[in-house]
């Protein structure tokens, strides 16, 4: 894991001093409310429906046991004993008081954490594959690249007041688990014919009210050119991105309106002018950062574990092992997903006690490392198969052993109207009710991989456009109304869901989802054909009747 040096440390402390001063200047009237709003947002502080919300950056979702324990302490001292993990691999506290925020920032800085640029019209927390350093198909760990971008973009003098927020994601694997195609910039680490490492760059992906898949602008950008090239993209966007309408201000609209070819031409023109030497980072510094992400010293272990196989005689353990383990490149190890989606609970929440359990498990069994996933779960990335039974037992004890990773109850949901000022409908209660409907683990297993994603407004924080089943909550003449989309996918075959029909009422949603799943079970060729594959094969028509209230049609299984 990356460790701050004196420069990183000083900057974070100075940022807190600046923030304290900023709050003082709001109180004495130096800053108007409008000015303070944007400035505090650049420090992760929002004003929500009921209270302030503080969003803490977890760069590329990686944290240590000590950091997780500090998050638990902050949850106890300044929140209501829990935190909410988000789709940008961050954590949010929903109940801090403004006067406590500088002290919260100090506690975060004590463990090398901060809230810089977790909001505002600037370059946001850079996300990466949560199985970085684990996956066997990885060309290179994406986190050194993400860390380099984090440092470069932190308080960047030129790019802190962009037309709108700007999100970058990096993947280093053949299989994209970081949803790079739906980011303002998506970076995929690739090797050319000579084995040189570089990046495939896409620009203009995004969700929100106008969902778009990113367009390729460079098939191979040599590694050393990354930062100068990013500056060229950001500069074109800063100058030409629309500022007349916040809903048309993201770079995807600029790329769309100019056309990809014209956009690329402008970027290349700017790139030719840029003083690359001033921006490029030398190989030794890149290597210094990369060294922090060197894999832990794995023991030489057999690929199979007796302890593991013995434990698998327990059907509950076996179910967990089947759904929540991801193959590790090191024999005898696994990456273990801890679901924050227990049946009927708000997705992504963890109590302070649960955070401490996770911190302990990371320290004892996972090389002191944890990952936050954009699916709002936690990963213990380096667990010996021999240790999985003990880890599982501890998770069961803590209420963290839900065996549903990637299944129908592993729902992504934004906070919705229960917390958020922008929301037009509730999303958490919808997620909870769907989760209860599919509580039977055998039924869930039979359904197989299926991503449900719920957003409580058109801004799409719940990523509904890329849900195999997407649910969008809107306000229709004062009544919550939900649109269902099918066929979205965030990864390699990135696609946006299509609307199944007119919106339906909140209380009809869970039954409609159940009927949609039943149609799938009836139509799939066999168990190997996943939900999304069936939708792609048969289209939307067979699913349309499912929106109408009726008795569920059970699949002849």
């Amino acid at each position: 894991m990356y460790r701050y040096d004196e420069f990183d440390e000083r900057l974070v402390r100075e940022r807190i001093a600046q923030f304290r001063e900023m709050v003082r200047r709001r109180i004495d009237g130096s800053l108007t409310e409008e000015e303070f709003t944007l400035l505090r947002q650049m420090n992760g502080l929002y004003l929500q429906l009921h209270a302030y919300m503080l969003r803490v950056a977890i760069p590329y979702g990686t944290l240590s046991g000590r950091q997780m324990r500090q998050l638990a302490l902050i949850a106890d001292r300044y929140d209501r004993g829990y935190g909410h993990f988000t789709t940008r691999q961050n954590i949010q506290y929903n109940w801090p008081r403004l006067r406590d925020v500088p002290d919260m920032l100090e506690l975060l800085a004590d463990v090398e954490m901060q809230c810089i640029q977790t909001s505002g019209n600037c370059i946001r927390n850079v996300t990466a594959d949560h199985f970085a350093g684990v996956a066997a198909d990885e060309i290179e760990d994406p986190r050194p690249t993400a860390e380099l971008i984090r440092q470069w973009s932190t308080l960047h003098p030129e790019f802190s007041f962009l037309p709108r927020k700007f999100k970058i994601a990096v993947t280093g694997s053949a299989v994209d688990r970081a949803a790079v195609a739906v980011h303002d910039i998506g970076l995929r680490i690739v090797a050319d014919a000579k084995g040189r490492i570089g990046y495939r760059v896409t620009v203009g992906g995004g969700l929100g009210r106008t969902p778009m898949i990113g367009k390729p602008v460079r098939e191979f950008l040599p590694r050393e050119e990354l930062l100068p090239y990013l500056e060229a993209i950001l500069r074109v966007y800063n100058l030409e991105g629309r500022r007349d309408n916040k809903y048309k201000a993201r770079v995807k609209i600029l790329v769309h309106e100019l056309g990809t070819e014209a956009f690329v031409a402008r970027v290349e023109e700017e790139y030719a002018r840029i003083d690359r030497g001033a921006v490029e980072v030398d190989a030794a510094e890149v290597a210094r950062i990369a060294a922090y992400f060197a894999p832990p010293a794995f023991e030489a272990l057999p690929a199979r574990s007796e302890a593991f196989e013995k434990a698998a005689r327990d059907p509950d353990f076996a179910r967990f092992a089947r759904t929540n383990l991801f193959p590790h490149k090191a024999p005898g190890y696994t990456a273990l997903t801890v679901s924050l989606k227990p049946i009927g609970a708000p997705p992504g929440d963890a109590t302070s006690d649960q955070m401490r359990v996770l911190a302990d498990l990371a320290e004892r069994f996972s090389a002191d490392e944890l990952r936050v996933t954009h699916v709002q779960n936690i990963v213990l990335p380096h667990v010996r198969l021999d240790d999985v039974p003990e880890v599982w037992a501890a998770l069961v004890e803590a209420g963290l052993a839900t065996a549903n990773s990637g299944l129908v109850t592993d729902i992504i949901s934004c906070p919705g109207m229960d917390y958020c000022k922008l929301a037009t409908a509730r999303s958490i209660p919808i997620a909870q009710e769907i989760s209860r409907r599919f509580a039977d683990p055998e039924r869930e297993r039979a359904i197989g991989p299926l991503g449900i994603k719920i957003s409580g407004c058109i801004n799409a924080c719940g990523h509904h456009h890329v849900g195999a089943i997407g649910i969008l909550g809107l306000d229709k003449a004062g009544v919550e109304n939900y649109q269902i989309t099918l066929g979205g996918e965030p990864g390699d075959l990135a696609s946006l869901g299509e609307r199944l029909g007119p919106g339906i009422d909140a209380d009809e949603v869970p039954a409609a989802i159940e009927r949609i799943v039943d149609v799938y079970l009836a139509l799939r060729t066999d168990e190997a054909e996943t939900f999304i594959d069936t939708v792609r094969r048969v289209g939307l028509d067979p699913f349309k009747p499912a929106l109408q209230p009726q008795e569920p049609v059970r699949a002849a299984a």
């Binding site: 308080l155 007041f161 001033a278």
Partner: protein, 163 residues
């Protein structure tokens, strides 16, 4: 209107209307005419932030000042424009005007601006001390800056080489 640089309040030798001022600032669409007028007064120009700086390219060595407008504090185009003008070789005075805040002053200096010209209302609300403090709030920058800061990346390298 009040003029500030990193040292604090300064007298402004330029004016947009007063013919007795040392230098004149003209609107962008009056620039050609001012430069061709044959007067010896230093000429500055108000550059709206939607004009690409390449449109000043042929005049750079004859310009004594470029003033870039910040119509709203949240509109950061001026930071890119300043850097681009400096990259194109402009060495004269570079001034930020409009709704800029002390919280952005360091960014402005880092991007190549020398000074900010603010309204009396802003000056009353945002005392000089806040502007003077702003450039000192951070000791380091991760990127090279136009006002001479060397990036953290390069300073780490220098520290390694010195060790």
């Amino acid at each position: 209107m009040p003029l500030l640089d990193r040292e604090g309040l300064q007298a402004d030798p330029f004016d947009r209307a007063d013919p007795s001022a040392e230098g004149v600032i003209v609107p962008f669409d009056g620039l050609e005419e001012a430069l061709e007028s044959g007067s010896n007064r230093p000429v500055g120009v108000d550059l709206p932030n939607h004009v690409h700086p390449s449109r000043l390219a042929s005049h750079l060595d004859r310009l004594a000042l470029v003033a870039i407008d910040f119509p709203k504090f949240s509109d950061g185009r001026g930071f890119s424009l300043a850097r681009m003008l400096r990259e194109q070789g402009y060495r004269g005075r570079l001034r930020a005007t409009g709704r800029i805040l002390p919280d952005q002053f360091a960014f402005a200096l880092h991007s190549g601006f020398d000074e900010v010209e603010i309204s009396d209302e802003q000056a009353a609300r945002l005392p000089v001390g806040q502007w003077q403090l702003a450039p000192h709030q951070f000791s380091d920058n991760y990127v090279d800056t136009r006002d001479g800061r060397v990036s953290v990346f390069k300073r780490r390298r220098a520290a390694r080489e010195a060790a």
